[in-house]
């Protein structure tokens, strides 16, 4: 009995807070944008009712000199404290992610006292706030359930890079390799509530030329290539937000875009292929594919993908981490200057 009481006491200690659960606001999505005047805009999407039902979602936004300033303004303008434990998705606009270092932004978010560490970080074309506002859960579903199901589906189709908040912060802090962030955009045609005009079957020509965006270049619809729009990502009947590929990170910023097919290849390579590097006599990157599986006959596509990533300077396939294993000390690794050698490295896929 004493042990049981002690256990109950210990469990109760973790929840000691003077704020009742029902008197907190639990946002499901968070957006980060940079305004024209250089200030940051933070947006939150939270359920209208405190009981968490799918009655509707309010979007709140505020601007400030820093993201934390904007959050403070936002918190001051609402009657209840914010609790980030239910956040599923953090959207960052492409422009912000390509112009500003991601580490301070994401670390600030991760260190919010109640932040959910496994919330996904995604890049939004154009305004993250607009993309967040446009997303609608299907058939009266809760937004959190809708997003959970969506992530599960993307994961099953191997088109969801590992870009949780904690992973991003860790990889950015480590700096030996890069990663991919899922990319989403509003399909303007679907937003106009004309679903009958849209192809009902996801998929399409994904093998054409794809677009890479220069660092810091602001996004506009005119740049949205057809092969990205016709991506293989799951699409729901009423949701105008499409998951169209991924944004590659290099040196702590987003540096370019991969199509849905390229993202799928990258995720499959990371999941099932063996990666090796040879550092003596010039850097060589090797991908050894499994004898049979989903990557059969994809050697050419993978080689092209690696070349694209090399052109962007993004080591999203984590060759840097593998190359660092050939060095005994951090000083030797730094002296090797992998980042400078990576774009010219030879590649071999077999």
């Amino acid at each position: 009995m004493k042990r049981l009481l002690l256990l109950c006491l210990c469990l109760c200690l973790t929840g000691c807070s003077h704020t009742y659960l029902e008197r907190q606001i639990y946002p499901i999505c968070l957006s980060l944008d940079m305004l024209d005047d250089g200030r940051y805009q933070v947006g939150l999407q939270a359920p209208q009712s405190a009981n968490g039902g799918a009655t509707g979602y309010d979007v709140l936004s505020a601007a400030g000199e820093t993201p934390m300033d904007a959050l403070r303004v936002l918190a001051a303008s609402i009657p209840y404290p914010l609790n980030f434990s239910q956040i599923r998705l953090c959207l960052i606009s492409y422009e912000l992610a390509s112009n500003q270092p991601l580490l301070p932004l994401l670390r600030g978010l991760l260190e919010l006292p109640t932040m959910r560490p496994n919330a996904y970080v995604m890049t939004a074309m154009d305004s993250a706030l607009e993309v967040m506002t446009a997303q609608k859960p299907d058939l009266g579903m809760r937004l959190s359930t809708h997003l959970n199901l969506l992530f599960e589906r993307l994961r099953r189709e191997q088109t969801l890079p590992d870009s949780t908040l904690s992973t991003c912060v860790r990889e950015l802090g480590d700096g030996r390799s890069d990663f991919l962030l899922c990319l989403c955009a509003v399909n303007a045609r679907l937003q106009n509530d004309k679903p009958e005009q849209q192809p009902t079957q996801p998929g399409g020509d994904a093998g054409g030329a794809s677009a890479a965006f220069a660092v810091g270049e602001p996004w506009s619809d005119a740049l949205l290539p057809n092969d990205i729009l016709a991506g293989m990502m799951p699409r729901t009947s009423i949701n105008p937000v499409e998951y169209v590929g991924s944004a590659a990170v290099s040196n702590g910023r987003v540096c370019g875009v991969l199509t849905a097919r390229e993202t799928q290849l990258a995720v499959r390579v990371l999941n099932s292929a063996k990666l090796r590097t040879a550092v003596k006599g010039g850097l060589q990157l090797q991908v050894i594919l499994p004898r049979s599986g989903e990557l059969d006959g994809c050697e050419g596509e993978i080689t092209a993908l690696i070349r694209r990533l090399q052109a962007m300077g993004s080591d999203a396939l984590t060759f840097g981490r593998i190359a660092s294993m050939a060095f005994a000390t951090d000083a030797a690794w730094q002296a090797y200057d992998f980042r400078a050698l990576f774009p010219q490295a030879e590649t071999a896929v077999r």
Partner: protein, 351 residues
């Protein structure tokens, strides 16, 4: 009486055997409190200082700590039998108490920022003090003994089974910033293993066998090494990041795959730190009451808690710097005290 003897799992048939078994069980429980205290100090050293200095090679520094731990154990195993020798360890216990109280108050401050910092410190110290006063002489040690599996499970959930994406390739470059830096980091960590001396000072019993002594010493050291290894696997933050106490303590758990794991890691600290602080205060009480049996219990119980509380409340800004400066010296102090105890013992034997 017979009921207490059940803790030994051995059948007893008379009162004397029960007394003997009970004493043995109490001795084991006291050794366990020493293990908990040392493990807590090692885990805190990795979290606050070790990882920042050696990054992915911090596990090697933790492994190197076996050497100073073995040295301290040898000295106290050979010499720490006088009743007054344990008093030499009081400065180390005082620093331990201050460090634990500082970490616990920082953690509570992170959890409930609305509450005043000093209020948390006073509450924690008062609870520990009352626990010592209201419990029986053997109560804290036996209570810690009851919690041992609970603490171990929480530790495993907070590190090994955190379900974070821990990868072995993050341990490379394998030597980190080089062997000299790893050795220097280990040197700064010697203060965390001094608690091994308590294994032989606290129980008022004949010394255990060499094999048993080695096993007792290896237990907290292994816990510290595993904790350090997971820091290397995960890289919870970039060394040099300016983090608050609560952020440091939850740094590893931030990378958990699940909110449940994250909360359980928080629970680990909320159990480990107060239990360790109470064990620390109990150790001070035992050492003082052994040397001065007439000292009132309320006084001996507050011997470590009161100075630690004053330091945390009155010097909240200076305390981190002082701790950083003083904590590494606990190892040297414990070794010197062990050598002095050995000399005293030999002098007594010569007479």
């Amino acid at each position: 009486m017979l009921k207490r003897a059940m803790q030994t799992r051995t059948a007893v048939h008379d009162e004397q055997a029960a007394q003997r078994q009970r004493k043995q069980a109490y001795g084991s429980a006291l050794r366990l409190t020493a293990v908990v205290q040392t493990a807590a100090q090692l885990v805190l050293w990795v979290t606050f200082y070790g990882y920042d200095r050696a990054a992915q090679a911090v596990w090697q520094s933790a492994l190197l700590l076996a050497l100073p731990a073995a040295g301290i154990v040898c000295l106290w195993y050979a010499g720490g039998t006088q009743k007054t020798a344990g008093l030499l360890l009081l400065p180390c216990l005082l620093l331990d108490a201050a460090f634990l109280l500082y970490a616990l108050c920082g953690f509570i401050d992170g959890l409930i920022p609305e509450y005043p910092y000093a209020a948390g410190a006073v509450c924690v110290a008062a609870v520990c003090w009352l626990t010592l006063l209201l419990s029986r002489r053997e109560g804290v040690a036996n209570g810690t003994n009851v919690l041992k599996y609970f603490l171990l499970i929480l530790f495993l959930l907070g590190a090994v089974f955190l379900r974070a994406s821990s990868r072995a390739d993050r341990l490379w470059p394998i030597l980190g910033q080089g062997l000299p830096n790893t050795a220097l980091t280990a040197l700064s960590g010697t203060g965390a293993v001094w608690g091994a001396a308590l294994l032989f000072v606290l129980p008022d019993q004949p010394k255990p066998s060499v094999k048993a002594a080695a096993l007792w010493t290896a237990l907290p050291w292994a816990i510290g090494a595993v904790w350090a290894l997971w820091y290397g696997f995960l890289h919870p933050w970039a060394p040099g990041d300016d983090l608050r106490v609560a952020e440091r303590l939850m740094g590893l758990a931030r990378h958990a795959a699940d909110v449940v794991n994250y909360e359980l890691a928080g629970l680990m600290w909320l159990v480990l730190l107060p239990v360790s602080l109470t064990c620390c205060a109990m150790s001070g009480e035992i050492l003082l009451s052994r040397a001065c049996p007439r000292a009132p219990r309320a006084l001996s119980a507050s011997l470590l808690l009161l100075p630690a509380l004053l330091a945390v409340c009155l010097l909240p800004r200076q305390l981190p710097q002082w701790l950083k400066l003083l904590l590494p010296w606990r190892g040297a102090w414990a070794a010197a005290a062990g050598a002095a105890a050995l000399m005293l013992k030999r002098r007594e034997a010569a007479r």
